[in-house]
């Protein structure tokens, strides 16, 4: 077989001993040339060599009848297969397989696909809403976190500042308290000193001392106590004579005794002298006054020191600061607890850890939700593609059917016209017109045709078919003249070479009459005559080339095979 690019030799080996048949293919090529096992024609050629296609150009007589038989679709099928319109239908099957494959990928039928698509789209819309809500929640939580962390920072700074102030306050307080203690000690010491001195009446005031000294002076002036004691007069009153020598009568003695009562006794004089001596020795000094002055100063210092302490406390507002620090501490603890909770929520909301997703719902985590959305988007896209594919396939199928139909109509029209022309040239004694090709060739105003007419119509039809075919194929015909009248045989023999560019005819010796005459005139340059026979007793068939053998074969009795 020769194609436009290569010549192939196909050998069919029939091994009767082993009961096997196998092909070998040989081709000429620099690379991969030579004999190889198998039917190795190019796929383009191999696809044409289907049974349905081959039987259109490997012609037998039955086919001719079928072309005109009303119950047959041979004419139309011949057009279909020779022009490979069937390949158009096969494309539809290919498209079907593509759609099926896509649907198998989705494990869904068309109806299921639509339902699933609606469900997935609804689910996706729902998750889009969830995602928006989660993102809003994330933003809200982040804002809350920022606010609370900012507040914690503020609190820390405030507490730190308060502690610094408190430290400064404490330092000042230590100094002041030290001063207070010193002042207090001074006050205590001075108080003790004053108390000791104040117990001395003569130190209280110079006038007090003066009162004392004046009293003592007056006693001096008055000679108190009197130097004569009571005891002197009591003893004198008991004497008969006075110390001056005069005698003392009882009257005088009684008087002396009475007067003695106005005199102090000796012990009283002693006491009075002691008092006088003590008072006279009482001398005022400003010792107490100075100590009082110092106590006053110390007391004021003490008081001032305490006031200083109060002022510092007021200045630093120590109590309030402490309270406020405690409040801030409490607020910080509360805020840090809240921050912890927010971070937990945020973690749940934003974790990308798929292990953690196992414990979550997509409605709780943004990325889990996104993952779900992606999944749905992929499913929707796949389903959308499948649906789209189905729709496209439907359109494609309709186009294919239309193309096939249109192509068939056009081909039929052309082939009818060309066949009609050929019939006119072959059958001259009767006007035969083709009305239509509708499965079979329908003749106009005729229900049937003779055997010769049938063959002539068939050859004309096939010739027309092959004229327009894409591939120039050999037409192989067995017993083309079979039962034809001799006159028809001649017409057929004339027309057949014109119908096909390459014609292979198998005839028996009995069919040569009125059929082969025309071929003899063409000469051996145009026609190759091969005579194939097997001699009696011989195991091998023989093939003799040449018109002489062909024209004479079995002319005499001894040539009969």
């Amino acid at each position: 077989m020769t194609t436009t690019e290569q010549t192939y030799y196909v050998v069919l080996n029939l091994d009767y001993k082993k009961g096997k048949a196998y092909y070998q293919t040989s081709k000429v090529s620099v690379v991969h040339g030579g004999m190889e096992e198998g039917f190795l024609l190019p796929s383009e050629v191999r696809s044409m060599l289907s049974k349905e296609f081959v039987k259109r150009f490997i012609f037998d007589g039955e086919l001719a009848n079928k072309i005109l038989t009303s119950s047959s679709k041979e004419a139309e099928e011949a057009i279909t297969y020779l022009y490979q319109l069937n390949k158009i239908s096969e494309l539809d099957l290919v498209a079907d397989r593509i759609v099926e494959s896509a649907q198998q990928g989705q494990k869904a039928t068309s109806a299921k696909t639509e339902n699933s698509l609606r469900r997935f789209v609804s689910e996706r819309n729902s998750y889009l809403g969830v995602k928006t809500a989660l993102q809003k929640k994330e933003q809200t939580l982040k804002n809350m976190l920022k606010d609370k962390e900012g507040r914690v920072q503020e609190i820390k700074e405030t507490i730190s500042a308060t502690i610094r102030e408190n430290n400064h306050f404490k330092e000042e307080l230590v100094v002041i308290e030290g001063n207070i203690i010193q002042c207090e000690r001074k006050v205590v010491a001075q108080t003790s000193s004053v108390l000791n001195l104040i117990r001395n009446p003569h130190l209280l005031h110079p006038l007090t001392t003066k009162r004392l000294t004046d009293l003592a002076s007056q006693m001096q002036i008055l000679k108190l106590p009197k130097t004569m004691s009571k005891q002197f007069f009591v003893e004198l009153s008991e004497q008969d004579f006075c110390i001056c020598g005069r005698p003392l009568s009882p009257k005088e003695q009684n008087h002396i005794r009475e007067v003695s009562e106005t005199y102090l006794a000796e012990d009283q004089i002693g006491i009075l002298n002691a008092i006088k001596a003590t008072v006279l020795s009482s001398v005022y000094s400003d010792e107490l006054e100075k100590e009082i002055s110092e106590l006053d100063t110390a007391s004021q210092n003490f008081s001032n020191a305490k006031k200083d302490k109060d002022r510092i406390k007021v200045r630093y507002n120590a109590d309030e600061s402490n309270n406020s620090t405690i409040n801030l501490d409490n607020e910080q603890i509360r805020l840090e607890k809240e921050i912890g909770e927010i971070k937990k929520h945020l973690h749940v909301l934003t974790t990308k850890n798929r292990t953690e997703w196992n414990r979550l719902d997509p409605s709780e985590n943004i990325f889990f939700c996104e993952d779900k959305l992606n999944d749905l988007n992929i499913k929707i896209a796949a389903l959308s593609n499948t649906l789209s594919l189905i729709e496209q396939k439907k359109i494609f199928s309709s186009y294919l059917k239309r193309i096939e139909k249109e192509a068939l109509l056009l081909l039929k029209s052309r082939i009818i016209q060309e066949t009609q022309d050929k019939i006119k040239r072959i059958i001259k004694n009767e006007e035969i017109q083709i009305e239509s090709i509708d499965g079979h060739i329908k003749l106009k105003d005729k229900s049937g045709a003779s055997e010769g007419q049938t063959l002539a119509i068939a050859y004309s039809f096939l010739g027309s078919l092959f004229e327009g075919a894409a591939h120039k194929l050999p037409f192989v015909v067995d017993s083309p003249a079979g039962s034809l009248d001799l006159s028809v045989r001649r017409e057929v023999s004339l027309i057949l070479p014109c119908l096909f560019s390459q014609l292979i005819i198998f005839i028996t010796s009995g069919e040569r009459k009125a059929f082969t005459d025309y071929f003899y005139t063409l000469g051996e340059n145009e026609v190759k005559f091969l005579t194939v026979y097997r001699s009696p007793g011989s195991k091998r068939a023989q093939c003799i080339e040449g018109v002489e053998m062909f024209s004479r074969f079995q002319e005499s009795e001894e040539d009969i095979v």
Binding site: R199, P201, R211, L215, Q218, L272, T278, V279, I292, L295
Partner: protein, 151 residues
């Protein structure tokens, strides 16, 4: 019968920290009374004596107190300082040779009544305080004012 505390003394002096010696209270009262040279009512003193003698701390100024008592009584009784007999008589009325206080019953009683006067003046003039130093400062000023007023 010896030293008796004025009625308000315990209430007043009891608040002052570091002044727990009872005779100190009595001394502060009696000195103001003697400065004023005015005796108080007998009813304004406690019925029971709190001490029957001068404590050792005050023993050294016992005679000064007695002298101030004599001086105050001279003025209160309008005894002329030149009236030797009246003065001696007064002394004889107040002094008891055998008493530790060197005062007889009348002398002690008078001294107690001067203490009543002093307490009343303290109560009226010196704000109550718990601080001994403040009390002493106030007392000193008050005493000086009185003594200067009396001349």
């Amino acid at each position: 019968m010896t030293f008796k505390m004025p009625n308000n003394a315990r209430d007043y002096f009891g608040n002052i920290k570091d002044l727990k010696f009872l005779f100190d209270w009595y001394y502060f009262c009696v000195m103001l009374g003697l400065a004023k040279k005015k005796i108080g009512n007998e009813e304004e003193m406690e019925k029971e004596y709190f001490m029957d003698s001068f404590p050792s701390v005050y023993l050294g100024v016992r005679d000064q107190i007695i002298a101030l008592l004599i001086d105050a009584e001279m003025e209160r009784r309008a005894i002329e300082p030149n009236d030797r007999d009246s003065v001696q008589k007064l002394i004889l009325q107040l002094i008891d040779t055998f008493s530790q206080t060197r005062l007889n019953k009348q002398g002690i009683e008078l001294l107690n009544r001067y203490a009543v006067t002093g307490m009343n003046y303290i109560n009226d003039s010196i704000p109550r305080t718990t601080s001994l130093d403040l009390f002493l400062l106030h007392y000193y000023k008050v005493y000086r004012r009185i003594i200067e007023e009396q001349g």
